[in-house]
Each structure stands twice: as C-alpha cells, then as structure tokens.
Symmetry: C2
Subunit: 568 residues, 2 copies
C-alpha cells in the first residue's frame, strides 16, 4: 500500500534491484508489478501485510519451507499504526504468531505529545516485538533486521530521527554508480536464489498442487467432488435454514479444496433462541486450525485482502451480517482490486430480534449491491444455497458475499422446483401462473413467504407468479428477454425483502409495491418483527388486493363473493 511520500523510496528500490528503469510507478493497483496493494484508507496496508504473512505461514505448513520461505516487509507511516483496523490487525498478527512479518516505521515530523511512543506501546501490547533504532545508525539497523530473522513474534522497528540533520546526507550524496554498485551483488544473489528455488520446485512432489493453487485453477473433477461432498454433508444438516446449508457448503468445500483458508469472527456464532447454546457457525474439521479473529472483524477483512493478494489460497471469512459495516473499508478494497474471496455473513434477517434494533440489518444489502465488482447472494432454500455457492465460486470479478439467514421459514412451505430459469442465473421463476396478474419478487427467507402469499391469492382468484432473485448482479447480466420472462411484462409487481427497499425500483418499476423495512428494527421475537413490518403472507395478500382494487385491475379478475373466496 504505497503512499505518495513513499514513492521516491519505491522508485529507488526498483532501480537498485534492476527491476525498473527511471520511471516513477503510478499509484494504481495493477498498473505496475511493484504496486502490490491499491492505495487506500490508512491502516489497511498493515492488515494486508499481516494477511500476506499469514498466507506464507499457511502455505509453508502445507508445502514445506523448501517451497515457501519468505518474509513480509512493511514500510508504514505513523498514522497507519493509530487506526482501529491496524490495531485490530496487529492483535491478529500477534495471535497467529506471524513471526515473518516485520514493519519499519518512522515518527511523524511533528509529534504531538507522545503519540508515536504510544503507538509503539500498543503494538508491544498486541504481541509484537518493538525495537527502536536511530535512522542513521547502520550497525543498529543491521542488527535489528538480523534479529527479525530469529523473531518468534511479528516485529516493529521504529526508525527514530538521526542525530545529524537529513540535509547533510543530501549534500554528501555520492554519484549514482557508487550507490547502485553495492546493490549488484544483492540483485545477483536474488537471481541465484530464484534459480535454486526453481530447481527444487521442478523436483517437488507437490509441484502440481502448488502450481494449480497459485494459478487459481480448480482441481480436476471439482464439480463432481463438490456435488458429492455437498450431498454427503447435507445428510447431517441440522435444519433447512440457508445459514445451515451455507455452512454445510463450506464444510463440503473444505473437504475437497485444500487451498481454502477460513477466518472466523466470533459474531458468526449466534445465540439460539433459548440463549443457552451457540448455533450458527461450526468450524469445519479441516479448517479448525485456530484462525479465530474474535471481535476484530475489520482487521480480519483487511487480513483477508492480504491472503488473496499473496495468492495460493482461496480466502474465506465468516462473520455476522451486521458486522459488514465495520468491514466495509477492507471489503471495498477487495472489490476495487477485483480480488476473489468469499464472505459468509450469518445472522441475516430479523432472527436476532431480541437483541434490539442495532442487530437487525436494514440498509446493508442495498449498500453491498451498490458496490461495483461485488456479488451478493441471498439464497432462500437449501437448493438455492447450493446454486449460490456454485455461482459465488464462479464469480471472477471480485468478492462474493453469501448472506445467510438462521430462520427456518421454508419448513412450513417447501419451495417447489423452479418453473422457469435457474438460481444460477441470479433470478428465476419459483412458481409460474399463466396470465399472471401479480408477480411476487423476493429473496432469501422471504421467498417462502411469497409462495405462501401466492396460495392465499389463488384462493381469492388472483393469479400470482413467484420470482426469487438471490443475486441481483447475476440477474442484471442476463439477456433482456430472460429478465422480461421472469419478471413478467405487465401486472402488479411486489418486492418482498426484510430490508430497506432502496434500489428495488430496478425490478418493480414505477408502479411497483415494496414490502420490507422502512425503518430500523426493534426488540421482539423474529416472528413478531415480521408481523410488525407486514412481511407476512396475509399482510402481503391484503396489500396486493388493495393495490389491485385501487388501480382497477382487480376488475379484470373474475369476481366471487369474498366469504367464499377466502376458501374452505
């Protein structure tokens, strides 16, 4: 994560190692091989560096030190250290024992009070070794750098201002040949190190797997294995909520994809209704390697970026849907850099009703959908979850987010098989009605409510088609004719989602109706909350009847006495 002030140093390093000529690199990720992370909010670089060091740790354990054996060096600014994300990442680096991570940092030109010393103390209190050297004391610097090679913790080296003024250095600057000269052996040593690595690699028994993972290719027969693993794991699923099947998908994936690295925040766990047992997250046995990120979701998301940028792993994390607000800066960087990673967001919907409105997502879905390069999946049934898992793994443009709900609405009304299209195309018809008068469009657990509402409407002789849109991004990419066939040409369109209706006009048109949350949630059991916001089959049914009556379209439907229409 280069900042403008670091550019001259970066240019000098590139020149000295013979990587680049005189040109100064542009500060844009992807424009220059030396720019490994896009510039972004302060502190994200510290977290990304921790992720790179973690990737090295994970890969060296799998492939051995003969293949994976390198260090992560960071040149940070003092402001980076003071941010919340850096302090969270520092705690994670300390917890994971990332002893191959070393960070050099200089105090600010004008330090107010003891803020820099405080930053050092906070890193020291987060499981780091902190060393101080004078920036012009070459032996001290050398010995500090040498000490990092033996370190058992991540290291922070504070480069304090030299006793002499920096201007004197500039005056005595020798001609360029004298400066670049001593670097030639370094460059030659690097080349030789690389040659011997290539020789070792050519003979390595895990060469194919290593190469495949680094190229981000899938194993042979992935589709078949993944399907088989899914079916096997689904046999022991506890219920048919999307959260349970989403986590089952993770378990199945960890069975067959050794490059999967999963970080978990404690918020991924959710308390059950009885408040006694933890439900939700269960670490897959193959992944129970202690990558627990506790309450540090922002640091975790930043580390995830570093994992992906390092390569050789498929990064994944699990946290609660609400914590996406805290992770946003990091998640946005991933989308900006088009890094492939998976976010499993549990506890969506109004499930955590009793904890108060602060725990109920409202605008989070809209804000994720508004982010470029990001795919948001909100499946409504176990079979949709499987399709969404597949589509998320196929999504190449950036991060894929699976929004999972612990509620179990569809136990009452199991979703019928698709009538037209497929969840893999982002949106499809769950239940078709000829000459539809109404199209009920929902996502996630609200699809089951829409199906139930359509049955109510059928009893009133109102023909309603039910559409599920688990992924807006994929659905928007479908041809116009497909979208038109799914959404229906005319008639009333009703959007149903337990979230903010912002953005839903895209599918509903100017005359459409949205049933969802126009305010924050509140404390109540989930079912009561669904009723409070009118997200029930009965309330939807009434709303549809009202709109059809007002618009006069109801007249098109054959009338029957109401008492009769309510059914047997």
């Amino acid at each position: 994560m280069p900042s403008t002030t670091m550019l001259p140093l970066l240019a000098a390093m590139l020149r000295l190692t013979g990587t680049d000529s005189h040109s100064t690199p542009v500060l844009e990720y992807g424009e220059h091989p030396a720019i490994e992370v896009a510039p972004g909010p302060a502190g994200q670089g510290v977290a990304a560096a921790a992720g790179m060091a973690l990737a090295e740790q994970v890969l060296s354990r799998r492939f051995g030190r003969s293949l994976v054996n390198h260090r992560t060096w960071v040149l940070a600014q003092d402001t980076d250290l003071a941010t919340g994300v850096a302090m969270e990442a520092a705690q994670l680096a300390g917890r994971f024992g990332l002893d191959r991570l070393a960070m050099l940092v200089a105090p600010p030109a004008e330090d107010r009070g003891s803020e820099f010393a405080d930053s050092l103390a906070r890193f020291s209190a987060s499981g780091w070794t902190v060393r101080k050297v004078a920036a012009d004391d070459l032996p001290a610097i050398t010995s500090a750098l040498a000490a990092t090679l033996r370190a058992r913790k991540p290291t922070l080296i504070a480069c304090l201002p030299p006793s002499s003024t920096p201007s004197s250095l500039a005056v005595h600057l020798p001609p360029e040949e004298e400066l670049t000269g001593p670097w030639s052996p370094t460059a030659r040593r690097g080349a030789s190190t690389r040659r011997s690595w290539l020789r070792r690699f050519a003979r390595h028994r895990q060469r194919d797997a290593f190469e495949r993972e680094l190229m981000r290719h899938r194993p042979a027969l992935f589709q078949e294995d993944w399907h088989r693993a899914w079916l096997w794991r689904m046999r022991s699923a506890l219920d048919n909520s999307t959260q349970e099947s989403g986590l089952t998908g993770l378990h199945a994936l960890s069975d067959i994809l050794p490059e999967l690295v999963c970080l978990t925040a404690s918020s991924a766990y959710s308390m059950s209704a009885t408040g006694e047992e933890q439900t939700g997250w269960r670490a897959p046995p193959a992944l129970a390697s202690g990558l627990d990120c506790g309450i540090q979701e922002h640091g975790m998301a930043g580390v995830l970026n570093g994992l992906s940028l390092h390569g050789g792993v498929l990064p994944c994390c699990a946290a609660s849907m609400m914590t996406v607000d805290r992770m946003r800066s990091a998640l946005r960087m991933a989308a900006l850099m088009r890094q492939k990673m998976l976010y499993l967001l549990t506890g969506d919907g109004l499930a955590l009703g009793d904890g108060g409105g602060g725990w109920q997502p409202v605008e989070q879905l809209a804000s994720l959908r508004a982010t470029p390069n990001l795919a948001v999946f909100r499946p409504g049934s176990p079979s949709e979850t499987f399709k969404c898992w597949e589509a998320a793994l196929d999504w190449q443009g950036g991060p894929a987010v699976l929004v999972l709900c612990p509620q179990n609405h569809n136990s009452a009304v199991p979703l019928p098989p698709p009538s037209y299209g497929s969840a893999a195309r982002g949106g499809y018809v769950v239940q078709q009605q000829e000459n539809r008068l109404v199209t009920l469009i929902a996502s996630g657990p609200e699809v089951a409510i829409a199906v139930e509402a359509s049955h109510h409407l059928a009893r009133r002789d109102i023909r309603a088609t039910v559409v599920s849109i688990p992924c807006w991004e994929l659905f928007a990419m479908q041809p116009q004719t497909y979208r038109q066939k799914v959404l229906g040409g005319k008639g009333l369109r009703v959007g149903i989602e337990a979230a903010s209706g912002f953005g839903w006009e895209r599918w509903l048109g100017p005359e459409g109706v949205f049933v969802g949350m126009d305010d924050f949630g509140t404390s109540a059991p989930a079912n009561a909350l669904y009723e409070r916001f009118g997200i029930t089959a009965e309330a939807i049914c009434k709303k549809v009847e009202h709109h059809l009556f007002v618009s006069g379209a109801a007249r098109a439907a054959p009338h029957q006495p109401r008492a009769h229409a309510r059914g047997p």
Copy 2:
C-alpha cells in the same frame, strides 16, 4: 450500551436507587429512562461514553462547575476494549484529557493467553490510568473509585476475579432488606444534591441559555442572524465550490450558535492540486478548541453519538467523504437513535483523482441514502448549499449529512435561479423548458454539467429541462403533484451523478438513462476522470441523441441537418 449480561446488574441498580420496581428493562433505546444508548456493535459504548464525558467537559467550561459537574461511569465488557473503535475512542479520550470518565471492566471467564492484560496495556498506552483491583476487595475498590475523583486522565479499573469462588457469595447472600437498606442514604443524598442544584440553577445568570440548549431550542432571531452571518462569511469565501460554501456555513453557524461542537478528522483537509498547500477544512475561530480527531474517524463518530445523547450541544464533525465507510457503524447508531447531528463530508466527487481509485466515492451516496432516518444533502452551488444547510438544521429525524465537493465546475456556468420549486424541498427545476423532450436530473457539481448539456441540446433543438435533487429524502416527502411537476410527466429522463447509479431508478423510471460511475475510479486528474466516465456535457448530449433516436422520440422533434444543428 447495556448488553444482555449486564441486565441483572442494571435491574439491581435501578431497584436499589428506587428508580424502578421489579421489572427488567427492555434492551431498547427510548423504552426505559435507564437505557441511555441503544445496544449495538461492541466498542460503540466506549466511544459514546467518551462523547458524554466530552460534553460534560465542554459544557462545564461554558457554564461553570456550579451547573455542570458530573462524571461518566462505564461498565464495559472485555471484548469492547479490543475493538478498533474502542481503541480509537480511547486515544481521543486520552488526547482530550477526559478525566471524568471512568470505566470498570472484568476479564473474560476464559482468557486465552494474555489478551485482557494486553487490552489494559493498550489503554494505558492511550493516555489512560489503569488500576487493577480484586473484585471482592472492597477497600481496594473504594480507594480505586476515590482515586478517579482526583484523576487527571480517564481511568480504567480492571476488576480481577476474586480469590474466593463466586458461588460462595451466592450462598451467603443476605435477605433483600439488608442489601437495599444501606442504599437508602445514597438515594436520599442524590435527592438532596438535586434540590441544591435546582436552587443554584434558579439563580444562575446563564440559566436561559442553558435551558434553551438542553431543550434543543434555537436562539431567538436565529433565522435572521444565520442569514446575516452567512452573507458576511461568504464575502471571504475563496471560491464557489460547495465545499468552500459548506465550510463557510459552518463558520457562520459557529458565530451565532454557541452550542455547536465540531470534531475534525485530518481527512477533512485535502491536498490542493499542486500538492503543496492544504485546502478544504479551516477550523472556525470560535471552534479552534483542539477537538482534532486525527485519523480516528470511527472513534470520532462514536464520540459524536455520546455528545448528542448527553444533550446541551449540537454535535458536528468534518471528515472526508471516503471515511464514511469507517464511521458507518457509529453513524448507523445515530440514525437508529434518531440523534440530531451534522456530518460535513469533504472531498466528494473525483477531485482526489490522483490518489488512486481507493479515494473516489462510488457507492457511498447510495449506501447513505438507503439508511433510514438519515438525510443526505449534496448541493451543487453556493445558494443550494445555503438552502441545504438550513434544511439540514431543520432535519429532526436523525443525522444530516452534507456531501461537499472541492471542485469548481459551476464557475464556468453559474446556475440560474430556480425555475420552479426550491432546493429546500429536496428537488427543484433549475432550468425549465416548455414541452420538454428530455429531463436532466443531477445533484452536486453535476448540476452545472447538466445545465451545460442542456445548452448543447438546445442548439440541436432538443428541449431539455434541468432538475437538481440535492436531497432525496426531502424530495420523496413532497406531494406527488410537486414531484411530478419537477420530474416531468413523460419524455426521456437522464440521471447524472459522479457515483454509482444504484437506486436512481426511483427517479428515472424503467426507460431512464443514468450517467455516472459503473466501476471504481482510477488515478487521473479529476477532469480526465469526468471524461473517462462520460460525465461531460458533450458525452451526455450524444447519449441523449442516441436514446432519442433509438426510441424514435427524436422524430417528434423538428429535424434539422446535423451539421447545422451542431451550432454556429
């Protein structure tokens, strides 16, 4: 910020002080006088407490200790301390010297390694006094609490597990009368303290001002004074960008509203194009009281909530638009609790182009607009900025966000006076054309581009009306007839905003066209970026012509040879 585990303690305290009977309070803000903050993400409570202590500090300086003289006590959980927002808030509390803030915290039941001790060390390194007491050592607790009364720093008291097992305490629990008995003098002392405060208050010479601010009433003649102060301050405005006039509004407000408290993040400053001088933020002289929050935006936003919840101040903060991602958890809490506060977000648009895509807002506007109770203002000219400032001050439902752009587009084409409606209604007609064929709808600096595009279109005999929507929330609250008159009944609608188009379908309808950013930004000067994303008068003009041609509506317009239509 009560958590479920603290509920029994809270209920006991209420019972002992005679405030409440046996009922356990509901975990919902606004439902019970003892619930001062809504439950929410870990760490937000620490920041809110710092804000309450800051409000006390600010008010006691203004009104003296005879009126304002209290302390902020926090019972925190160990996990709160480890979050980024708590660590940022802790730094701010240390920096501001909030010596009347004291926090009690117990280690977790199962501490892994030394995480709790590390948390204490980090607070100690953030300008806090940290004391450790055994939870059953009453003299030690008393002396630690007494020490906080003399403290010159915020205090953290770690309540370590008692040597005896807690179950033995439960066994020896005396009957309730023996427990509540010793508390009666405390309750009586509180009542007596309150009576003498009321006597002092009745005679206090600043009584009226204090009462007015606590009731959140405006000073008499506020409208007149504010208008006069605005005009006076605008005389020394450096340019006519909305950022400059937005900050001018803040200066004018600080002249006439003594309860204004403004926190500033260093990101509110932006580098000028030459990279040599800082532009953007200039602290109003009356507010230059050192409430500088540096890089700790998330902590700042959390502190802002505490300021507002305490009351007696009008909290305001300034930071860059991009950092809203970091502040979101706290900003959301403010919206949830409907707290009135002002966010000035500088550096919007593509102004910071050279810093890379990571600094260019794309989805931020959409995600703010999707949040309930929040009003987002994005003015396009100095006069719109004034109207938006007024509307933001009038907004009662929650926080108001002013999105300000340092670019100076409208210097070329000054906006004409409104043709119909007013910016105070959220949206209005900037430039009316009879029998409009096209409606160009824009916000912020893009309004000037839309006006320029309408001139280009006029030369091609395409009648285009220009509409500005600086505030979606206000515009959506207007009567249907007003909105219809502003947006126009039929014809092509074009939305123009240098941001994600997510949600724009609300105003454009299914046939509308959006001109904006469908991807993240990149490194380039701002003007080049506007061209790259096609947000220029010429590109909009071409797009409109193309759409009219495709839809066949162009035939309705009188045809002229194209070469001629291109103008003189």
